[in-house]
């Protein structure tokens, strides 16, 4: 294996700037998508645990639809196919008119996709609490909405801190799929540096290190959050 090592490439311009900007895009895409995934996923997940057949069915369809099509295919559907289905003016606006079309499409697509996974975690969290707590809340005269607000959700979200963290890390890694529609995030920039300089080893190492650093920070944050929200006297809620 003969290879000309040149770690210096990582701190030379424009490559350093490429990496920084790529990393920024990774973070921005991930966070935007996460806000969407968390809020929509919570709503869908809650819908799946209600007594209403209609709400449950809608939520189930959403989950099945979004998790049974590969993310990359969904990315293409939103970017290439969706504008074709709109009236011409609206289609043009989505393609070119709206601000940062690639970024917006990628963030929305990733958010909608991950919402289906977040929904499953929220549902599992609520269901793990059991009928007894729901009954106790209702028996006191709380309305079903109040039972969710004051009894079920505060416990459910505590239980699912670890799986939600792992969903966030999934969104963070999946943000790399945005490169297929032209968002120049970390992985795309690493590839670009490799193509320009043939220093693939250095470029991919840099990207890998960036991903590992963020993953480690998020895991540390999770432990901190988990400790902060843990309920005194309870060893593990999930074990019920």
């Amino acid at each position: 294996m003969n290879y000309n090592w040149d770690w210096g490439v990582l701190v030379r311009e424009p490559y350093l700037e490429w990496l920084t900007s790529g990393f920024t895009w990774t973070i921005v895409v991930s966070l935007t998508a996460w806000v969407l995934a968390f809020s929509l996923g919570s709503v869908i997940g809650i819908m799946r645990t209600t007594n209403s057949n209609l709400l449950r069915r809608i939520a189930t369809c959403y989950v099945e639809l979004f998790r049974n099509i590969p993310l990359l295919v969904q990315m293409f559907l939103w970017y290439f196919v969706f504008p074709e289905l709109l009236p011409q003016d609206a289609g043009m606006w989505v393609k070119r008119g709206m601000p940062m079309p690639e970024f917006t499409t990628a963030a929305i697509c990733l958010g909608l996709y991950t919402a289906s996974r977040v929904a499953e975690q929220v549902r599992a969290g609520i269901n793990s609490i059991g009928q007894g707590q729901r009954n106790a809340g209702l028996a006191m005269g709380l309305t079903p909405a109040q039972v969710y607000r004051y009894v079920l959700l505060p416990v459910a979200y505590r239980i699912i801190v670890p799986p939600l963290t792992s969903e966030f890390l999934t969104i963070f890694k999946n943000s790399s799929v945005a490169l297929t529609i032209g968002v120049l995030e970390t992985t795309a920039q690493a590839r670009q540096i490799e193509e320009y300089t043939f220093q693939g080893f250095e470029a991919f190492t840099a990207a890998t290190v960036l991903y590992i650093i963020v993953t480690s920070i998020v895991m540390l944050l999770m432990r901190f959050v988990e400790g902060r929200v843990s309920i005194p006297g309870m060893i593990s809620l999930g074990a019920k």
Partner: protein, 242 residues
Amino acid sequence: MIQLQDVSKWYGDFQVLDTCSTAVSKGEVVVVCGPSGSGKSTLIKCVNGLEPFQKGDITVDDVSVGDKATDLPKLRSRIGMVFQNFELFPHITVAENIKLAQLKVLNRNEAEAGQKAMQLLERVELADQADKFPAQLSGGQQQRVAIARALAMDPIAMLFDEPTSALDPEMINEVLDVMVELASDGMTMMVVTHEMGFARRVANRVIFMDEGRIEEDCSKDEFFDSQRGDRAQTFLSKILHH
């Protein structure tokens, strides 16, 4: 106060309640017993509408539970219920557990709710535990808090669904004592339990259920003294001699 008229309930094809009728008058203490799977827990959950039923009607203070137009949350807020597994809310403190529905359902203010909570905690002798979380208490203590939580709503009647069956033996009495005191204060109570000692001490009437039907419904004295149906006899001899 509580009236059940020909209540029947099915889970799919399986009938869990079969034309059950009975009544609990004001100030009366009624004990419901029977083997597991006899439908007694389901019956008591029908009284405040936690379990829907398909036939018959239940009224509490002349309000129909089965009627779709009934404001169930409002009705439930007037009936206290205590569960087998306590069902204190684990993420809030003991005092907060007792205040929650006072604040959110009865719209009492914080001071009023807090005062009521402390007063009831004194009554169940747990005032010093107010700021602990449920999981930091013993089972018996948790169940006493659960009773206080139900009483905080100033209920017109109390439902108990096997309140001592999840407890270690040494903790059963502390809970029964609170219930006896409550009965002697004139509270209307419907109690699903196997504690026949409790039934002897405070019950006015005893209901025996089997396979979804009310097999016996008579005064305490009749139940314990007279000839009973075979099933009730067998059941009683099993639980009295274990």
